[in-house]
C-alpha cells in the first residue's frame, strides 16, 4: 500500500489525467473515439513544442516568455522566405537559423550579462511580436501551398498525424538528452545550484545559452506546424495563449517553477492533461465563456493538490 502511495505521489499527473479521461468518457462516450483522440493529438502539438522548450528553461531556473510570440514570428519567417523564393527547404533552414539566433541572444543576455530571464524574454516577447509584422510588407497573408505543408498539416501514419509523431519523437529525444547525456545533468545541476554546478567545473554560461537556443528552436518548429496547418501565415496571431498553456502543462506535470526539478514524462502527461481539458470543454458543450473559468480553476486545483502531496511527502520524510 505504501508503495502504491509513493507511486501515486510521484506520478500523480498520470492518474489525474487518466481519471479526467474516464470522467469525460462517462459524460460523453465520443470522447474516447479514435477521431477525437486523433484531434487531441493534433491540437497539442504546438503547445507541446512550446512546453518542451520551456521545460529545460524552467528546470534550469529561468523562464522564457518570448517563445509564444516567437512561434508566430518564426512562422512568418518561413512564410516570407517561401513567398519570396518558393523554396520550402530554404524556408525551414531560415526558421532554424533565425530561431537559434533569437534564442542565442536571449541566452547571451541572461548568461553573460546576468539579466533576469523574465525581463529579457518579456522584452523578447514585444520584439518578436513587432518583428512578425514588420518583416511582411504591409502585413499581407502568405499562402503556404504544396506537398510539404500538406504533409506537415495532414499526413498520417498508423492513424497518427505526422506532426504528433514528430512531437513524440522530440519528447523521446528530450527524454534521452535529459536523462542520459551530460547536458541534461548540467541543466538540473544549474537549476539546483548554479554555485555548485560551477564548482563541479560545468560551463554554466554555455549550457544556459544552449537552453534558450533549444527553446527557440522548439518554438520555430511550433511555428512551422502551426502555419502548415492553417495553410497560410499572417502577423498578429496571438502566440501568448500558446505560451501560457505550455507553461501550465509542464507545471501541472510536476516541474518546479523555481527550477531544479522536473521530468520529461511528467511534462508530457501535463501536456495531455491540458490537451484533454481543452478538448473536453468543447466536446462537452461547455459554453465558450466558461472555458477559461474551468481552465483556471483546474490549474489552481492542480497547484493545490501538488501542495498537499508535497506536504505529505515532507511529513513522510520526517
Amino acid at each position: 500500500m505504501q508503495d502504491f502511495g509513493k507511486l501515486f505521489r510521484e506520478n500523480n499527473i498520470i492518474f489525474v489525467t487518466l481519471a479526467l479521461c474516464l470522467v469525460f468518457f462517462l459524460i460523453s462516450p465520443r470522447f474516447l473515439s479514435v477521431d477525437n483522440m486523433s484531434a487531441i493529438s493534433r491540437q497539442i502539438v504546438p503547445i507541446g513544442l512550446i512546453a518542451l522548450g520551456q521545460f529545460f528553461v524552467v528546470v534550469s531556473g529561468n523562464i522564457d516568455l518570448s517563445m509564444g510570440m516567437g512561434s508566430v514570428l518564426f512562422a512568418i519567417v518561413l512564410g516570407v522566405i517561401f513567398g519570396v523564393t518558393g523554396g520550402v527547404a530554404l524556408g525551414i533552414v531560415a526558421v532554424i537559423v533565425f530561431s537559434l539566433a533569437f534564442g542565442f541572444v536571449n541566452g547571451l543576455l541572461v548568461a553573460k550579462l546576468k539579466l533576469p530571464s523574465f525581463i529579457v524574454t518579456l522584452a523578447g516577447l514585444f520584439i518578436a511580436q513587432g518583428l512578425s509584422g514588420l518583416i511582411i510588407p504591409r502585413g499581407q497573408q502568405i499562402f503556404l501551398m504544396g506537398g510539404f505543408f500538406r504533409f506537415v498539416g495532414a499526413e498520417k501514419y498508423f492513424g497518427f498525424y505526422a506532426s504528433f509523431l514528430f512531437l513524440v519523437a522530440l519528447f523521446a529525444l528530450a527524454y534521452v538528452v535529459y536523462n542520459h547525456t551530460r547536458w541534461g545533468a548540467y541543466v538540473i545541476a544549474i537549476g539546483n545550484s548554479e554555485e555548485n554546478a560551477k564548482l563541479a567545473g560545468i560551463n554554466v554560461d554555455r549550457v544556459k545559452i544552449g537552453i534558450f537556443m533549444f527553446s527557440a528552436l522548439c518554438s520555430g518548429f511550433a511555428g512551422v506546424i502551426l502555419s502548415s496547418r492553417m495553410g497560410f501565415v499572417q502577423p498578429g496571431l496571438d502566440g501568448n495563449g500558446l505560451l501560457l498553456d505550455g507553461i501550465a502543462a509542464i507545471i501541472i506535470g510536476g516541474t518546479l517553477i523555481l527550477g531544479g526539478r522536473g521530468t520529461v514524462t511528467g511534462a508530457f502527461w501535463g501536456l495531455l492533461f491540458i490537451g484533454v481539458t481543452n478538448n473536453a470543454l468543447n466536446l462537452l458543450n461547455v459554453t465558450d465563456v466558461w472555458h477559461q473559468v474551468f481552465k483556471g480553476s483546474i490549474i489552481l486545483a492542480a497547484l493545490g493538490a501538488n501542495y498537499v502531496l508535497w506536504q505529505s511527502r515532507q511529513a513522510e520524510a520526517q
Binding site: 531556473g61 529561468n62 523562464i63 543576455l109 550579462l113 546576468k114 539579466l115 533576469p116 530571464s117 523574465f118 525581463i119 529579457v120 518579456l122 522584452a123 523578447g124 516577447l125 514585444f126 520584439i127 511580436q129 513587432g130 518583428l131 512578425s132 509584422g133 514588420l134 502585413g139 537549476g191 548554479e194 502577423p235 501568448n240 501560457l244 507553461i247 501550465a248 507545471i251 517553477i257 523555481l258 527550477g259 531544479g260 465558450d288 465563456v289 466558461w290 472555458h291 477559461q292 473559468v293 474551468f294 481552465k295 483556471g296 480553476s297 490549474i299 489552481l300 497547484l303 493545490g304 501542495y307
Partner: protein, 323 residues
C-alpha cells in the same frame, strides 16, 4: 521562477535608484522633445490631458504591481481582474440601480480575486507566477460569464463620473490618481504595513523570525492589488461608458514593464512608487507619441521591447562602471 532563482544581481545602491530616475526623466524629456518636434500638438494641454487620462488605469494597476513586486512576487491576473470586477460592478449597478453598490461590488470583487491569489501565495507559499497565471485565466473567464461575452452599456452619471468627466482639459481621474499616489505612498512609506512589504520582499525568513507575519502581509498585498484593479475597472467603465468583457487585456504586461522600467527589483525589497510613476509616464508618452505620429503598431511593439531591454542594460552597464 526567475525572480527567485536568478543570481543575486549586484544591483544598484540607493544612488543607483536615483540614477535610474535620472535616466527615466532624461528619456521622458528626450521622448517629449522628439515627439513635439514631430508634431506640434504634442505639448497642447489637450494632448497632455488625453495622455494622462489614457494612462490613468496603468498608473493605478502599476502602483499595485509595485507593491506585489516589492514582495518579490508578480501578479499576472490584474488585467483579467479589471474585466471581472468591472463586470461585477456593472451587473450590480444594472440590477440594483445604485451606483454606490456598484462601486462597492467592483472593489470587493477585485479584492476577492486578490485574496485568492494571496491565499495561495502567502498562506500556501506557492509560486506567484503560477497562481496568478491560473487566476489570469479564471478571472477573464468569469468576466466573460458575467457579461455573457457581451458588453453592457452604462448610463448612470454617477458611475461614469470618475472615468468620464473632465474639468476643462483636466480629466477628474488625474487628481484622483494623484490622490491615490499620495495615499499609497503614505501606506508604503509611512505605515508599518509598508515597512513590512519591503521586509517581506527583502528576506521572508528574517521578517518571519522578527514576528512581522510576512505570509499574512502577502495576502493583504494581493488584496490591495485586487482593490486597485476594482478601482481601475470603475475608471475604465466610466471612460468607455460601458462594461466590456475584454477590457484590460494584457494590461499586466504593460504594468510589469512599467514597474521594471521604474527600477523595482524583480527579486523584491527594492523600489519606489515614484519610479513606477516615471516608468508609466515614459511608457505612456511613447505610446501617445507613436499614435500621434501614426507609427505602425508592429514597430510600436519593437520599440517597447527595445526600451525595456535598453533601460535594464543601461543599469548593468552603469553598475559595471562602479564595481
Amino acid at each position: 521562477m526567475a525572480d527567485i532563482t536568478a543570481p543575486q544581481r549586484r544591483s544598484f545602491s540607493l544612488d543607483g535608484l536615483t540614477l535610474r530616475y535620472a535616466v527615466l526623466v532624461g528619456l521622458i524629456v528626450i521622448a517629449s522633445i522628439g515627439f513635439s518636434m514631430a508634431n506640434e500638438n504634442f505639448y497642447s494641454m489637450t494632448n497632455i490631458g488625453i495622455l494622462l487620462r489614457s494612462i490613468s488605469v496603468l498608473f493605478l494597476v502599476s502602483m499595485g504591481m509595485t507593491f506585489v513586486m516589492l514582495t518579490g512576487g508578480i501578479d499576472l491576473s490584474v488585467g483579467s481582474n479589471v474585466a471581472f470586477s468591472g463586470g461585477v460592478g456593472v451587473v450590480t449597478l444594472v440590477s440594483t440601480g445604485s451606483p454606490w453598490l456598484g462601486f462597492a461590488a467592483a472593489i470587493l470583487a477585485g479584492m476577492a480575486i486578490g485574496w485568492i491569489n494571496g491565499f495561495f501565495i502567502g498562506k500556501l507559499q506557492l509560486s506567484a507566477f503560477m497562481v496568478t497565471l491560473a487566476t489570469f485565466a479564471a478571472a477573464r473567464g468569469l468576466a466573460l460569464v458575467i457579461y455573457d461575452a457581451d458588453s453592457i452599456n452604462v448610463h448612470d452619471p454617477v458611475f461614469l463620473w470618475l472615468g468620464g468627466t473632465s474639468w476643462g482639459n483636466l480629466p477628474v481621474v488625474i487628481p484622483f490618481v494623484a490622490l491615490m499616489f499620495v495615499a499609497l505612498s503614505i501606506l508604503l512609506y509611512k505605515t508599518t504595513f509598508g515597512r513590512d512589504v519591503y521586509a517581506t520582499g527583502s528576506n521572508f525568513n528574517t521578517a518571519f523570525v522578527l514576528g512581522r507575519q510576512p505570509g499574512r502581509k502577502l495576502i493583504w498585498v494581493y488584496v490591495l492589488t485586487g482593490a486597485l484593479a476594482g478601482l481601475s475597472a470603475i475608471i475604465t467603465v466610466g471612460r468607455v461608458s460601458s462594461g466590456q468583457p475584454w477590457t484590460g487585456l494584457y494590461l499586466e504586461f504593460d504594468a510589469i514593464t512599467a514597474v521594471i522600467l521604474g527600477g523595482t527589483a524583480l527579486a523584491g525589497g527594492r523600489g519606489k512608487l515614484l519610479g513606477t510613476i516615471l516608468g508609466v509616464l515614459l511608457y505612456g508618452i511613447i505610446i501617445n507619441g507613436l499614435v500621434l505620429t501614426g507609427t505602425n503598431p508592429y514597430l510600436q511593439s519593437v520599440i517597447k521591447g527595445a526600451i525595456l531591454l535598453g533601460v535594464v542594460l543601461l543599469d548593468t552597464y552603469t553598475q559595471r562602471g562602479k564595481a
